[in-house]
Symmetry: none
Subunit: 196 residues, 4 copies
Amino acid sequence: MAPRSSKQFEEIREKSKEKLVYAALELFATHGYDRVSVSQIAKHAGVSKGLVYNYYASKEDLVQAIIETYMEVGEVLWREIADPDPWTMMRNIIRATFGMLRTQPDLMKLLTGLSLQMDQFPFIKGLIEKKAEGYLLLAANLFEKMGYKNPALESRVLGALFDGICVQYITMGPPQFDLDSMENYLIEKYCNNEEA
Amino acid sequence: MAPRSSKQFEEIREKSKEKLVYAALELFATHGYDRVSVSQIAKHAGVSKGLVYNYYASKEDLVQAIIETYMEVGEVLWREIADPDPWTMMRNIIRATFGMLRTQPDLMKLLTGLSLQMDQFPFIKGLIEKKAEGYLLLAANLFEKMGYKNPALESRVLGALFDGICVQYITMGPPQFDLDSMENYLIEKYCNNEEA
Amino acid sequence: MAPRSSKQFEEIREKSKEKLVYAALELFATHGYDRVSVSQIAKHAGVSKGLVYNYYASKEDLVQAIIETYMEVGEVLWREIADPDPWTMMRNIIRATFGMLRTQPDLMKLLTGLSLQMDQFPFIKGLIEKKAEGYLLLAANLFEKMGYKNPALESRVLGALFDGICVQYITMGPPQFDLDSMENYLIEKYCNNEEA
Amino acid sequence: MAPRSSKQFEEIREKSKEKLVYAALELFATHGYDRVSVSQIAKHAGVSKGLVYNYYASKEDLVQAIIETYMEVGEVLWREIADPDPWTMMRNIIRATFGMLRTQPDLMKLLTGLSLQMDQFPFIKGLIEKKAEGYLLLAANLFEKMGYKNPALESRVLGALFDGICVQYITMGPPQFDLDSMENYLIEKYCNNEEA
DNA sequence: AATGAATGAGGATTCATTCAT
DNA sequence: CATGAATGAATCCTCATTCAT
């Protein structure tokens, strides 16, 4: 039997890792990090418990990998945001945020849960802080261009609103919480040139 | 030699329970329900592990007791809300909400964390749903009186904003997140008769 | 208030002890010594947990007291056994044995259970051995007078039969296991002069 | 480097389970189910505490497995019982019963102990009842063929005798309680064609 | 690369027992 | 005499992690 090429090995590795990351995200989001055992994850992913430790040094390492993996996926949405017109750019931001919620609800749920336990997960702390800072600067700048009186505060309000929508969407779910109307409302409110 | 009177016992009981509930709330809020052991709670409260089970049938029973205890405390703030003028009443609601956050940040943190695991804590589910429903009706009614076009949606937005403020205040803390300016902003925005 | 006389105290003591012993026997027999907690016993007896330790040094001390108390009660049945005629005396023994089962089923159940754990309850070991020895001598002597070929063996057989009846009566209970017909059968079989 | 084959795993599993079941039976029989901790069992078996739970969901699950395992072993003795001649068949039954006691004294002890706590161990209840019913029918039928006047009662008596012999053999042990002479006595008494 | 047997620290819970009043 | 609050050792069980194959 010819030895597998290293490329083949790489493929196998990636496939297993993907299965694991996906299964873990699903379980973590549904039941919470601490209520899910590594065994459960392995079983859900259809691999052996030991394999998890072939790829990830620890359970905590695994969450970190999950978050990095899926954040990356989500970040694509943020790349197309820039626009010379602040109202248009604001609309892009809102669209990206809601898009994130729609395409990655599990990731958002996991992140929200972990962010409440930041002292237990140091890597989360850094990540969240960096994101928040970036968003705040960006949004404040936009609000300023749009002529708002207190851009810093305004961007905080919008940030809080995004978080709140996330929490409610997570806890109440689609049937009761309607993302679409909320999104339209925000776009109408924040992206209308006449408002200023 | 005479046995203690039942009043004496009652006092002792209450004192111990208070110590426990207080210590547990603090730890749960800081580290999350699943990361705190009953031993840690007992040690933090300065009593023995076994005593916890003299008063609470289980760890879950304890959280429930915590929530009931401190909810009651917080609910006082909501009793003085009613007012014939909708703008005044809205201001009272905002004040009560922020008051809650200021006086019971630990409770809010605990509640937020648990609400993300509602399926694991059935009693939370009921509690949150009831609260949310009550708030939504009340706020929608108010917004209608204030002449808003879409009162139902508007009340959802404000609700999400409250949740978001809660999350941000919890995760970022007082130095970085300024409750006061946020409160003033909201009052100005929502409770100004001229807006309509 | 005049101090209670020591006689009154004695009466109170006896009443409490009786309540405890009775409650404990009932629970031990139903659920087994190790499955019953001192708290349960106290509650079942309607007294406080602490009182148990006023009267008995330990849980084990309590079982011992139970057994002694109720053995004494049962032993009355064995005092009237003697009779010059061996067939009559044998009938008296059988009657006494079945009487014991009928009047003290709980005691018998407790004893049977504990006798299987003799190494854990040393006092039981002594007690059982003494009883057995006494019975074996008595019965062998009787069987000899009645003309049986192998009185020692015969008395062992009857002893085993008594034990087995006890076990079956305990496990299957009155509706399915009929003590009366069994008793009559034994009397007919063993106490009939003509058999020899 | 290659993962073990499932056959290898099976062997390892079976070996560990056997060690556990054997160690547990020994301890349960000697000290009683409730007096033996899972740790003790693991230590006695020479494995870790955690391994017990790899194979058995709970301590109760373990007893059940023990009983099933060893019952099976014992039941071989009962397969060769059938015989057209009722006296011969009766002798086979007696032999099988005593054989059980001789080869599986620990199992018999465990079963006897648990049968006194049937309400705590539902699976025992079913098992015992089924066995008893089967035996009673079989024996009654035999006694009828042998011409006994009251076959049902007679089979109950013999059943009780078996139980009693079991209890006595268990509590007194081989030196004092002689199984052989008892067995011979019963065979002589019950399996002699002339008696009828 | 993949498996699952094995480990043991740690967690929730129970309970006999003590003791101040 | 009587109470029940308080203790902590011991128990059952879970689970992250290691490792031989």
